[in-house]
């Protein structure tokens, strides 16, 4: 099944805007890391952020669920809305926001707990299950969505850290979807994985699109081309170009995008 490179569906014309960002600025101390970024991210779509290292794509991603709050020196200006609600509003509790906007990280980071507890952690803290049976159901559903159920169903009590790298990352995705988020942020989810595991995760991402708005940061242009419908190209903190993936890769408007895609900068 990996013989032919996997390729996602392209048509996204009729989707709603899920996340809207307007003139977002991010400063790390004195460094102006994100400059004037405005972008609309669609629901039930995979959006890829590409660009050379240090271009700000991960930083911008971390703004969307306010993970930058955990960094003391980070300062964010501008407007980011999810479903029309400003996420930097005073009334917003980042904890609640993050339940709605899940995140998967570059390096698989399962907790040193059992597989079951890893997945059950989110539902437990957010109080999603009334009883053990419901929790079991949520965990199974999440593991199935994470496309790892068949591999781990017999050893749910085994530590999550004992899985292989690809399994760990799928476990982390299952863990993220267990809290029933509406948006899933993925920060280079495949960069620590081998090609086969990468293929599995990419396929999973495409499936997740049925229910979520997925935003994925990636180093690999091939990956962006394979999994996303929309692509945003970042360069030196600016959002240079944003549009349909096919268009960006075949007919970029900006010369910087073209240089990057053809391998002249990066």
């Amino acid at each position: 099944m990996y013989d032919t490179p996997f390729r996602a569906e392209r048509d996204v014309s009729a989707k709603d805007t899920k996340i809207a960002a307007r003139e977002v600025q991010v400063y790390y101390g004195d460094t102006h890391a994100i400059k004037d970024v405005s972008v609309d991210i669609l629901d039930k779509t995979v959006t890829a952020f590409i660009g050379p290292s240090g271009c700000g794509k991960s930083t911008f991603l971390r703004c969307i669920n306010r993970m930058n709050d955990t960094i003391d020196i980070a300062r964010i200006e501008g407007l980011i809305e999810i479903d029309g609600e400003d996420i930097y509003d005073r009334r917003v509790d980042p904890v609640q926001l993050r339940a709605k906007v899940g995140m998967v990280f570059q390096k698989p980071n399962p907790f040193p707990k059992s597989i079951y507890d890893n997945v059950a952690y989110g539902p437990k803290i957010h109080g999603l299950a009334k009883n053990k049976a419901e929790l079991d159901e949520i965990v199974e559903k999440a593991l199935r969505r994470g496309a790892i159920w068949d591999e781990v169903k017999d050893r749910l009590d085994a530590p999550g850290t004992g899985l292989s790298g690809g399994q760990q990352q799928r476990l982390c995705i299952a863990r993220a979807v267990a809290t029933e988020p509406e948006v899933l942020l993925m920060d280079e989810p495949c960069s620590a994985l081998d090609p086969i595991a990468t293929g599995q995760v990419e396929e999973l991402i495409d499936e997740l699109r049925q229910d979520y708005s997925v935003v994925i940061v990636t180093h690999s242009m091939q990956q962006a081309a394979r999994v996303s419908q929309k692509t945003a190209f970042f360069h030196l903190g600016n959002l240079v170009e944003y549009g349909d993936t096919d268009k960006i890769f075949t007919n970029p408007q900006d010369s910087r995008t073209e240089s990057y895609i053809t391998g002249r900068i990066g």
Binding site: A20, D40, E85, D86, D93, Q96, G127, N238, E241, G243
Partner: protein
Amino acid sequence: MSDAANPASPAASNNGARSIHTVDARTKKRNASEKRFKYYGIAAIATGVFFLVVLLGSILWNGVSAFQQTYLEVPVYLDPERLDRENPSSATTFTYNPLIAEAVWERAQELGFGDEFEDEGGMSPLISASAAAIIRDRVIANPDLIGETIDVRILAGSRVDGYLKGRVDRDSASRDRNIDVAHLELVDAMQENGSIRKVFNWDFITGTDASESRAEQAGIGVAMLGSFFMMLVVLGLSLPIGVATSIYLEEFAPKNKFTDLIEVNISNLAAVPSIVFGILGLAVFIQFMHLPQSAPLVGGLVLTLMTLPTIIISTRASLQSVPPSIRAAALGVGASKMQSVFHHVLPLALPGILTGTIIGLAQALGETAPLLLIGMVGYIATNYPDGIASGFLDPNSAMPAQIYEWAKRADPAYYERAWGGIIILLVFLFAMNAIAILLRRRFERRW
């Protein structure tokens, strides 16, 4: 910016079930528990700091008064009928005691206390037992004084000192056999008149320990010398041995069982209770080698063994922090391994080694338990060492041992001395740590 990134309007508002602008009940509960947890943390820090403040506060509160001492200033008539000008040393302190008491009694009469005290015998609680010896020494040094009236400043008795410092009051004096309320009245009058005064107590810092009944005379000076000689031993032995061990382990030791054995030994020694080192000192240095008891040399040897792991651990850390490129550079120009270590690595690691050594010394300076076992307690340090050899070999006390000794004595006047001793000890420790921190700041190197 491309056209695609500039949409007409933000996403349509969708205040569904999961609006993030209203905080749901569960999140409120979770945030409350978050706050509680954070307050536990703050409370823990506050408790720790509170303990520190109470500890330092009670040291200062109880100890500062040790740096003041009450003195009597009275003219003493050196009666030639009782003192022999030709042979001044023939008169013992028993001859001088009444002379002093009479002088004080006279002052009491002048102040209108003639009725309360019928003779000079009632004056003895006011006068330190050490006063006679001091005047006697002065007369022996200068026999011409006999027959004259000299103004002397002598130590007041410890109860009087306690009264001026608030340790003794009328209530406790009425229950005390050693002093009466009338004495305190007299002290008040004499203080007003200027013949009893509190002055800065140099003798506490430089003086010798005194016997159990003369708290007012006791000083920590000799014990300080004892500590000093001990620290010389510790420095002289633990620095070279510690540095040599670290150099061997870091730079030369092959990876084998023997090296592992040394490493395990060092890390375990660092955690052996200090009292066990005391047992070692007693059994090996005193019982087996017959080194003298209570000698700073033995104390220094025991503390050296205790300090070595600290120094080795910090020296190894600073040797490790010298980058391998320095070693490679030295070897590359044809230096031997030994030369690369001694000419390049060691000098670069030196600030770190010194910092670690000072901190190790500070630990050793405050250590008490092993000193108890090698006889540094129970010895009353009343003599200054005569010279360097005697400094190392003659029985002496050490600052922490002296403090312990004072804390054990029954007279509460000694508690004040113990607290005062702690202030001096802590001043040394803070100074040493400050030097270590300065050294680290000054020479800290980022590779």
